[in-house]
Symmetry: C2
Subunit: 320 residues, 2 copies
Amino acid sequence: MATITVPQVIPSPTEDADALMKAFQGWGTDEQAVISILAYRDAEQRKQIRLAYQEKYDESLLQRLQSELTGDFQTAMCHWVLDPVERQAAMANAATKCIHEEYPVIVEIACANSPTELLKVKQAYHALYKCSLEEDVAASAPAGNLRSLLLALVSTYRYDGEEVDGGLARSEAELIHEAVKNGENGTTDDGELIRILGTRSKAQLGATFSCFRDEHGTTLTKALRRGSDPTGYTRALRTTVRCVWDANNYFVKVLRNAMHESAGTDEDSLTRVVVTHAEKDLRDIKDVFRKTTSVALEQAIAKETSGDYKTFIVALVGSQ
Amino acid sequence: MATITVPQVIPSPTEDADALMKAFQGWGTDEQAVISILAYRDAEQRKQIRLAYQEKYDESLLQRLQSELTGDFQTAMCHWVLDPVERQAAMANAATKCIHEEYPVIVEIACANSPTELLKVKQAYHALYKCSLEEDVAASAPAGNLRSLLLALVSTYRYDGEEVDGGLARSEAELIHEAVKNGENGTTDDGELIRILGTRSKAQLGATFSCFRDEHGTTLTKALRRGSDPTGYTRALRTTVRCVWDANNYFVKVLRNAMHESAGTDEDSLTRVVVTHAEKDLRDIKDVFRKTTSVALEQAIAKETSGDYKTFIVALVGSQ
């Protein structure tokens, strides 16, 4: 479920566009006014506001926001006003330009979305960038396991049903166990592991991961070797397994890491999770966050952030 | 353009269903009557006949055809009455069960279809087989270049635009040249070659193949090594390059090979090309066939086939 709230009676898109223009004009920008409008409109309403603003003022609302706002608040708001599918395509495109740091963005888009949602992101990618997401992911890293894994994840059109083949889960849990063991010995060809993660349905993979845990007494993410990981492949594997197995738990982990006190706040990850999920399933993620940490997500965020960025993100997260 | 002809005035689906039942009853099947109905109905009309037949006689038209007809005629007619997208899904499923012989079916479905058509086949595959085409292709062969190539081809959602990057075409033509040279030396990791064939748009690949020919004085298909090819990988590579570069030329080659006198007629390949393309683009393939061989396709087929199979296939190919 979503966390954003939309007033029962909302102004027309043109009235909202006028109010935004008023907030931009005069001495400094009235950030509070911008938040009070855009944080409380859903994707379709924001689209209508963008169109009304372009029509009336003959300029792009997105570009005006980019010039009026600064810092993390600007990043968050400019992502927020985009169409959700185009926003993910833009995030994926940015991630392909520094894949060794940003691979989680690719894994999330490939694995936390349903197969149909991923397909829509890939269609938007074609329209925006005149090439495929597959091409850009394939060109984002040298040949190797990291590239093979990410390319397999974005390419595949997974089956989305709930059917599970128990025998297959057991045999592929063993194949994965072999691959992990070979990895510890420095063997690097993970063709079978990547094939399984890259083609099986999420329900089937969940069963396979459960078999692995039952058979070997440890979860696959724990079994994946720590230590030297120069390409980031093993981290990307762990990210994939977590994201496929339980996306809500995975996003709670991302949020907790983003607000980890000793490392300083990672606003980019915080923004990504909140903006991407606020009108989709952030309420479910919030529930898991509270159960895991005994703190409400909005309180944790309020403690770690400040200024207009804080006001905006907390508005998206909601207080319920 | 299509080659099948549909009468200007056609009976209702129930009248056609009745006429089919009449052809099935009595001493032996009236194959000519079956052909005179079904060969002259388009996909939507055949679907309505299937529904009307099921409704009125409480049995599957497809199963009845399977029990009434025999041999190559049965195979061709049973493929023909299917929905075109489901037919391709069924052909792909059958091909995954003997991939070393049937890989051309997978390559054709992945590369001769548009990205949107391939997607529809994959959606039908989910519905029919409760798993993805990717999974079944990945499980169809042991790990290796053949599997990697076929999996990449069926997975990717290619960009379908006409834009071409000339610099990229030149640099990737060189990468392909390196891969082909290494292949001659027995090096077997074709990651870069498979990445290029598996992700780039058809327009971009066409430009890359042209660069290869201009730079090295031979086409890529000729440069791909002959000789020992135990897994069929090199043959699958050649099939892919031909199918991507010029699908009409490729299908003419398949038809010519299928009717090669010394080897006997390959009815499976002949059926596949005619049935799959008769209501799509078989007229274009026929034009290329006549230019290449100076013989009309329908004459070549009539010479090589006989009986009801001949009558049916020639009806689908048309006489114009």
